[in-house]
Amino acid sequence: MEPSLASYLALSGILFTIGAVGVIFKRNALGMFMCIELMLNAVNLTFVAFSRYYGDTTGQLFVFMVMSVAAAEAAVGLGIIIAFFRNKQSIDVDEASILRN
C-alpha cells in the first residue's frame, strides 16, 4: 500500500504555498532566496511523483535540469546579495529603492 499520487501533489502544493508566502513576508534577501529554493523543490517533487506513476524517465531528467538552474541561480543570486551588502551594509530589500524617484 503506497500513498496515492494525490498525496504527493498535496505535499508539493503545501510546500510551494509556504515558499510563496515566505517570499512575500520575508524582508531580507537571503530569506527570500531560500524561499525560492523551497518552491523549486516543491516543483521537483511533482516531477518525481509523476515520473514514478507514469513510468517515464523524462520527469527525473528535468529535475536534474531544475537543479542545475538552481545552482546557477545560487551563484548569481548570492553574488548580487554580496554586491548589494557592500553598497548598503544591509540585505534588507526595503533598502533597494534607489530606482524609486
Binding site: N44, A74, I82
Partner: protein, 185 residues
C-alpha cells in the same frame, strides 16, 4: 503500509521544517531548517524509487547550495530581521495568495483522487542511474548542452559581480557633489 507511514513521517517533517524556515528571523536558523526540508524530500525521493535524484538532491542542494548560503550568512555577519516596517498591504496580499494556493492544492488533491493511482511496475527502471544517463546523452543531449552553457554564464556572471568594481570615477562624482554643496553654502 510502510510506504504510507514513511511518506507521512517525512512529509510532516518537511512541512514543519518549511514553516520553521519562514518563521525564524535569524537567517542561519532558516538555512538549517531548509536543510531539513531537503533531507526529508530526499528520503521521499527514495520511497518514490528515484535513488539517483535523491543522491543528487543531497549533493547539490544540501551540500553545495546550502553551504554557499551559510557561507554568505557567516561572511555578512547579519543581524536578525528587525520589526516589520514594510508596506502593510503586503501582509494581506501574502495571506490572500497563501489561501488561494492552498485552495488550489486541495482542488488538485480531489481532482487527482479519481485518477488511476497505482504506480506501474515498469517505473522501477525509470529511476535508475543507467536509464537517466542514457536518456540524458541520447534523447536529451541538447538540453544538457544548454544547461552547460547556462552554468558557464553563471560562473562568468558571479565572477563579474563579486569583483571589486573600479571605484575612482564614483569618487570623483562624490567629490564634485561635495564641492558644489560647499559652493552653495
Amino acid at each position: 503500509m510502510v510506504g504510507t507511514a514513511l511518506f507521512f513521517l517525512f512529509a510532516g517533517f518537511a512541512i514543519m521544517c518549511a514553516i520553521s524556515m519562514v518563521y525564524h528571523k535569524n537567517p542561519l536558523y532558516s538555512a538549517i531548517s531548509l536543510v531539513g526540508v531537503f533531507i526529508s524530500l530526499s528520503c521521499i525521493y527514495i520511497t518514490l524509487a528515484a535513488p539517483f535524484i535523491a543522491a543528487v538532491q543531497i549533493l547539490i542542494y544540501a551540500g553545495a547550495i546550502m553551504v554557499l548560503v551559510v557561507f554568505v550568512i557567516m561572511l555578512l555577519n547579519l543581524d536578525d530581521d528587525t520589526g516589520p516596517n514594510r508596506l502593510k498591504y503586503l501582509y494581506t496580499l501574502g495571506g490572500g495568495l497563501g489561501v488561494v494556493l492552498l485552495a488550489q492544492t486541495f482542488f488538485i488533491f480531489y481532482a487527482v483522487m479519481r485518477a488511476p493511482n497505482v504506480p506501474s511496475d515498469q517505473t522501477l527502471s525509470a529511476g535508475k542511474t543507467l536509464t537517466i544517463g542514457q536518456a540524458m546523452y541520447t534523447e536529451y543531449l541538447l538540453p544538457v548542452e544548454i544547461v552547460g552553457v547556462l552554468l558557464l554564464m553563471a560562473i562568468i556572471g558571479s565572477v563579474m559581480l563579486a569583483r571589486r568594481l573600479a571605484q575612482p570615477q564614483l569618487e570623483i562624482v562624490v567629490e564634485r557633489e561635495s564641492e558644489i554643496r560647499h559652493d552653495e553654502q
